[in-house]
Subunit: 182 residues, 2 copies
Amino acid sequence: MKDIRPWKVLSSRTEFRNQHSLEVCVQSVKLPDGQIVDDYYQIRTPDAAIVVAQTVEKTILAVRSYIHGARKVAISLPGGNIQVGETPIATARRELLEETGHVAESWQHLGSFIRHANQGAGWDHLFYATGATHLNEPASGDLEEMELLFLSWREILESLHSGVMVTSSHAIAVCMASLRNT
Amino acid sequence: MKDIRPWKVLSSRTEFRNQHSLEVCVQSVKLPDGQIVDDYYQIRTPDAAIVVAQTVEKTILAVRSYIHGARKVAISLPGGNIQVGETPIATARRELLEETGHVAESWQHLGSFIRHANQGAGWDHLFYATGATHLNEPASGDLEEMELLFLSWREILESLHSGVMVTSSHAIAVCMASLRNT
């Protein structure tokens, strides 16, 4: 394998920050060949946890809601931003309960993925939970109108191909859980 | 199905913009229940095209390089930002040629996915190209040191599970192409 070396961050300056933990930094980075790039920017937004939850009846818990980032009504998975001091799996358990009213028996970490290869923009931590059962009514506190759906594997995979599931991290979670399920 | 309604953007104000087409806007949005949220922010970065390219020998073209957004050396697919006036598939063809020196015979659109459900942050358009053959030497002009790899389906799927492929859009492209290939 070729020797591929990381870049060195020489300096970082915050150019924008708001009260929702969005931050834009401009970095001066030194490449392995000695070249210096003095305007390489990074985006920081909160990391999130997302869960593919399969009920004891082998259906997948999905949420139909308006996704403002994509400007469309779409199908998503339970999930949300990791709060300060929270572990990714604790976020996944909390969001599953808040958004669907379900708890799950068995949890696997599917992987963690960055939203933008160059600019970063935060990590999504993906989980696969099985043996999910209903505990109480959902109470997400989210802004969106939501409809809870119980989909078959075939239906949720079809939603990827038909453009009804539009968020990258949710799509990869469904695919990776599906690969473990088969 | 429950009636889920889109939000209405009442106003949008640019709070940050740089020379790399990164823009942060703050919107005032009206929810279907009449509630107004006056600090919902959107991130704009260039859309990109990404390609899973299978050679005539049935190997997948991958690139090993340093991914600064994730701060690690990782495996990626050919791809990059869509330039002004370019269609997503034209970007995919250009990036495949620039980064790997290959052209492909047959092209399918796998889907298009948004990087952040709430904040947007740009779309990734994913393609599956088959019958790829070598035309000339790569000449990407990218900053990164790169190693071109020819991976089996098993190897590239394994890179998802082992954390060696770390970018969401690349991972979903591999999964969706793999689902079409089987």
